[in-house]
């Protein structure tokens, strides 16, 4: 157990790629927590997908020992957090476990959208904030300008921001000193009944469920029986320990300390993040306020390419959910695609990550349908349906009104691209809420329908601003609008997997683009194929794929029958990747590519 005054707990927060994980590396290394020979870049990003994409997805905790200039030995618990907006939930709950934040800002880029979002969260969590200007080794770094920006835009004092290069190690001793001298020590009472926060939990193949805890009051000991207060379940503590960053057993965790416990818990679902942990007997009465749950906002269908793999997909999804409680899934059947699952995600990156893992770790090829949001459909009989899948839209005569989720989007963009960004937001039915300047960068705030954003807004934003814009959003609630279900008919039959909800005023344009896209994506058949977009019974757009006229290699290859047979085998393999729909074969990519818009 460590003396409270010698503990500092903090999260490292920043906009994506501003160098949080690299800073964590330097802190770990300069305190010899990990031997030099075991170091590698972004050490804490241990998942394959994190290393491949070079981003942090899961927050990570490390305990380091540091002897400060005042001669005292301190215990520092750092939490490296993800920067991407989809994983904002990881950041907010991490912040609840600590007393301060290092706010990292890339000195060559300045304040970005997630910088702001993170600061607001840190202020909400009553954190002491230490601004850290990173990447000062870069020739493009402008620390003074960025300091000014921090003061202007964020409104916090940046005069004593720590100047560092996480890459080269410049300024790291200053960061360590700032942590000790500027961040507060935790408070707590070791003699009080145990009160600990369940910060996070995940599944480990060897240990079962591992629970990340922050002790507030009292002590947590190995061998004790503990109670999860939300569901009143009792567990026997098998193991407690700390992350360095490997798991290191300890006998006791006292107030202010962060560590883990295992207690023969089988499923992540048996734990609820934000819960209060206490002892079975003589426990605390007072529960912590808990965390607001993370809610999936983007939904899409996942179907196995090979329909025989449905059961495998079910298993794989179950296993992944053991690890990641933030995505939801329920079975779905589609006339076009057969059996699959409708899954909910925190955002598009989260969707991609899960899909990638299913395909790679479980070797299942997937068809992904267009992402959708949850609509609240109010029926004429007064009831309300949460619509996750446009294919399930009730008949229009029974519908009174439809509400859609809206977001508040904050976009920071260099002045020269502002016009394009405003146009993009306008095209996506946005309502401008604010437009201010921070130096030469504009900060625009828009109220936008989430359904206009989920699909390709971020890609479009990146392309119109050449990557210079940053984007953050939060849900702000539901609003009624003129929404209709658009159906697509291929060869006169509706294809449910291509249905979508659109705004009435945009239906014609969407329908036209969609039909054109499908015309490119569906190969010619032996007959001509009409492609139509319809609202109710009304056709709003139409294209025709002409019948195949010529497909023959008339040349004489003599006796080389092998070549022909191999070619056919290849074509057969290609055919497997198609979905038969009536008499028409639709390539699997078509289901998602058809929806990509060029504007």
């Amino acid at each position: 157990m460590t003396d409270l005054s010698r503990i500092r707990n903090f999260s490292i927060v920043a906009h994506i790629d501003h160098g949080k994980s690299t800073l964590a590396d330097r802190l770990i290394q300069s305190t010899s927590t990990v031997a030099d020979r075991d170091m590698k870049a972004q050490l804490l990003d241990s998942m394959d997908i994190e290393r491949e994409r070079g981003i942090t997805i899961k927050a990570n905790t490390v305990r380091i020992d540091y002897t400060a200039n005042d001669g005292n030995a301190y215990v520092l618990n750092l939490i490296d957090t993800p920067g991407h907006v989809d994983f904002a939930y990881e950041v907010s709950r991490s912040m609840r476990a600590v007393e301060g934040s290092l706010l990292v800002v890339d000195a060559s880029q300045g304040v970005e959208a997630q910088t702001l979002a993170n600061v607001y969260q840190a202020i909400d969590a009553d954190h002491e904030i230490v601004p850290v200007l990173n990447k000062i080794d870069l020739p493009a770094a402008e620390p003074d300008r960025v300091k000014e920006q921090i003061e202007d835009v964020i409104g916090i004092d940046a005069s004593d921001a720590v100047m560092i290069s996480a890459k080269t190690g410049i300024g790291i001793p200053d960061v360590l000193e700032a942590i000790v001298t500027r961040l507060p020590a935790p408070t707590g009472d070791a003699t009080a009944p145990l009160k600990a926060m369940l910060v996070d939990s995940w599944y480990d193949a060897y240990l079962g469920v591992v629970v990340l805890v922050r002790v507030i009051d009292g002590t947590l000991k190995k061998g004790e029986r503990i109670r999860f207060m939300s569901n009143n379940t009792v567990h026997h503590v098998d193991r407690i320990g700390v992350f360095r960053p490997g798991m290191q057993p300890v006998d006791i965790l006292g107030p202010g300390e962060i560590g883990f416990l295992t207690a023969s818990i089988k499923e992540v679902r048996d734990t609820s993040v934000g819960d209060t942990i206490t002892t079975e007997k003589k426990g605390t009465e007072a529960m912590l306020p808990g965390f607001a749950p993370s809610i999936p906002v983007v939904f899409c269908g996942l179907f196995p390419v090979d329909s025989a793999e449905f059961e495998d997909l079910r298993d794989a999804i179950d296993k992944l959910r053991l690890n990641d409680a933030s995505f939801s899934s329920e079975m779905e059947t589609s006339a076009a695609l057969g059996f699959g699952f409708r899954c909910g995600f925190l955002g598009l990156l989260h969707l991609e990550v899960i899909r990638d893992r299913l395909e790679r770790e479980y070797d299942i090829e997937l068809i992904t349908t267009a992402p959708s949001v949850i609509y609240n459909v109010y029926m004429t009989d007064g009831s309300m349906i949460e619509l996750h899948n446009p294919a399930d839209m009730p008949d229009a005569v029974q519908v009174d009104r439809i509400e859609e989720p809206r977001i508040k989007a904050t976009i920071l963009v260099p002045d020269e691209y502002l016009g394009d960004v405003l146009k993009l937001c306008q095209d996506r039915r946005g309502v401008q809420l604010d437009l201010t300047y921070a130096g030469s960068r504009a900060m625009v705030v828009y109220d936008l329908p989430l359904n206009e954003v989920v699909f390709d807004f971020y890609d479009r934003l990146k392309s119109v601003t050449k990557g210079y814009a940053s984007f953050d959003y939060q849900m702000i609630g539901y609003q009624e609008d003129q929404l209709v279900k658009m159906q697509v008919l291929v060869n006169d039959e509706p294809v449910d997997a291509l249905s979508m909800m659109v705004h009435r005023t945009r239906a014609d344009a969407r329908g036209r683009v969609l039909c054109e896209k499908l015309k490119e994506l569906i190969p010619q058949h032996m007959f001509k194929i009409p492609i139509q977009a319809a609202i109710g019974g009304r056709i709003i757009a139409r294209e025709t794929i002409s019948a195949l006229r010529k497909d023959v290699t008339a040349k004489c290859y003599g006796g080389d029958a092998t070549r022909k047979r191999k070619l056919l085998d290849k074509q057969k393999a290609g055919k497997k990747k198609m979905r038969q729909f009536g008499r028409v074969e639709i390539p699997q990519e078509a289901f998602i590519n058809a929806l990509k818009m060029d504007s």
């Binding site: 002409s546 497909d551 008339a554 006796g559 092998t562 057969k572």
Partner: protein, 390 residues
């Protein structure tokens, strides 16, 4: 389990294909196994080809040879005595049918025309000439070494020398419109031959044309729709002239069909001799073997010199593979393919649903167990095959 000798090959007969891999120059559209070499050791090639015939005979056992085909490359560049030696060897290791068809592919230049008598003396009784086009600008664009005049002269010599002469034309060429092709075709018909091969230009990715095409630099190619029109024009004209298609691209008066090519399409047995040659040989145990030889001329020659042949390891075809190949080859023929024969090889590989919908769609027909692609379906033969073979 012991196998009985499969008699399936007897539906097609037995032929020998001999590949000569050398050409005067490489045509920009050609992806055949053809190579330009300054010098060729004819004596070495003669010996090597003969030795490989011995090897093939050891696989096949005794056979009566119905046809021999010298293809290429440009086999008219061979020495007539090489041809004579090969014919001699074939007759020795197998037996040669008295009315065997012996074809040589010939390029229509004056050099080759001068050798025609020698080829005839060596045993050739049919030539197939690569004339390709009947006007000089197009011949030039196709990278051919001959002029139209030269081709006609060579053709005259051929006609005087051989009983059976056919030639090849390539159409749907760059910048060729329907009328130009129709009149060119009529000009060919007026020469009064009884066999013509009419190929639509195929752009192969590994050729010069393929590379130009990929860069968008090959202009004037007809669209698929246009090419399909030209195909139907061709059928109409050839039907009227009594030279209906007996195969997608091959036209003949009844009885004048290339017997050798019919062996391929009827999925008989054939021995492949020379670099890159393919064969289908039913061995003494009843296995249908797919044979293939080393493709590069020098590698093949070395191997033949040292081991007596250039054969790669042979592959035993499963009955499923055989059924697939039988259909792939057979549906090119107007006569189609006997379904009972195919089902004997593999009872359930045909997509019966597709068969029904293709019959309904008029792309194929089934009559007394004979499955055919209809004239309408011909231009999309590949798509039909893809549907049929589940």
């Amino acid at each position: 389990m012991s196998k009985v000798l499969s008699p399936d090959w007897r539906n097609g007969g037995f032929g020998v294909y001999v590949h000569w891999p050398f050409c005067q120059s490489k045509c920009p559209y050609c992806d055949f196994n053809s190579h330009v070499r300054r010098e060729v050791d004819h004596a070495a090639w003669r010996d090597a080809l003969c030795r490989e015939i011995d090897h093939a005979a050891a696989l096949s056992g005794p056979r009566r040879v119905d046809t021999v085909f010298f293809g290429g490359g440009t086999p008219s560049l061979m020495h007539p005595d090489t041809i004579a030696a090969i014919m001699q060897r074939i007759a020795t290791v197998w037996s040669l049918s008295p009315d065997a068809e012996v074809t040589l592919e010939a390029n229509p230049t004056s050099v080759e025309a001068g050798k025609f008598q020698g080829f005839r003396d060596a045993g050739i009784n049919r030539v197939s000439m690569g004339i390709q086009a009947l006007n000089d600008p197009d011949l030039k664009r196709l990278g051919r070494m001959h002029t139209a005049r030269e081709a006609m002269d060579a053709f005259d010599v051929a006609r005087r020398t051989f009983d059976r002469v056919s030639f090849d034309l390539i159409y749907a060429r760059q910048g060729q419109d329907r009328d130009a092709w129709k009149s060119e075709l009529n000009q060919a018909i007026n020469l009064g031959l009884d066999h013509l091969s009419l190929y639509q230009l195929t752009i192969e990715s590994t050729t010069r044309f393929g590379e130009l095409h990929a860069r968008g630099a090959l202009r004037g190619l007809p669209s698929d729709a246009h090419a399909s029109d030209m195909y139907f024009d061709t059928q109409e004209i050839m039907d009227a002239a009594g030279l209906s298609a007996y195969e997608i691209s091959n036209h003949a008066r009844a009885g004048a069909e290339s017997q050798h090519n019919l062996i391929y399409w009827r999925y008989g047995d054939y021995a492949g001799i020379g670099p890159g040659a393919h064969g289908r040989i039913t061995d003494g145990k009843g296995n249908r073997l797919a044979t293939e030889t080393l493709r590069m001329p020098e590698e093949w020659l070395n191997s033949a010199k040292t081991t007596g042949h250039g054969y790669l390891p042979t592959e035993e075809l499963t009955s499923h593979d055989q059924a697939v190949e039988c259909i792939l080859m057979g549906l090119r023929l107007s006569e189609g393919i006997n379904l009972e024969r195919v089902r004997r090889l593999d009872a359930n590989f045909l997509n019966e649903d597709a068969l029904v919908s293709l019959t309904d769609g008029g792309q194929v027909s089934v009559d007394a167990d004979q499955l055919k692609i209809t004239p309408r379906g011909r231009p999309i033969t590949n798509a039909i095959l893809r549907e049929l073979i589940a």
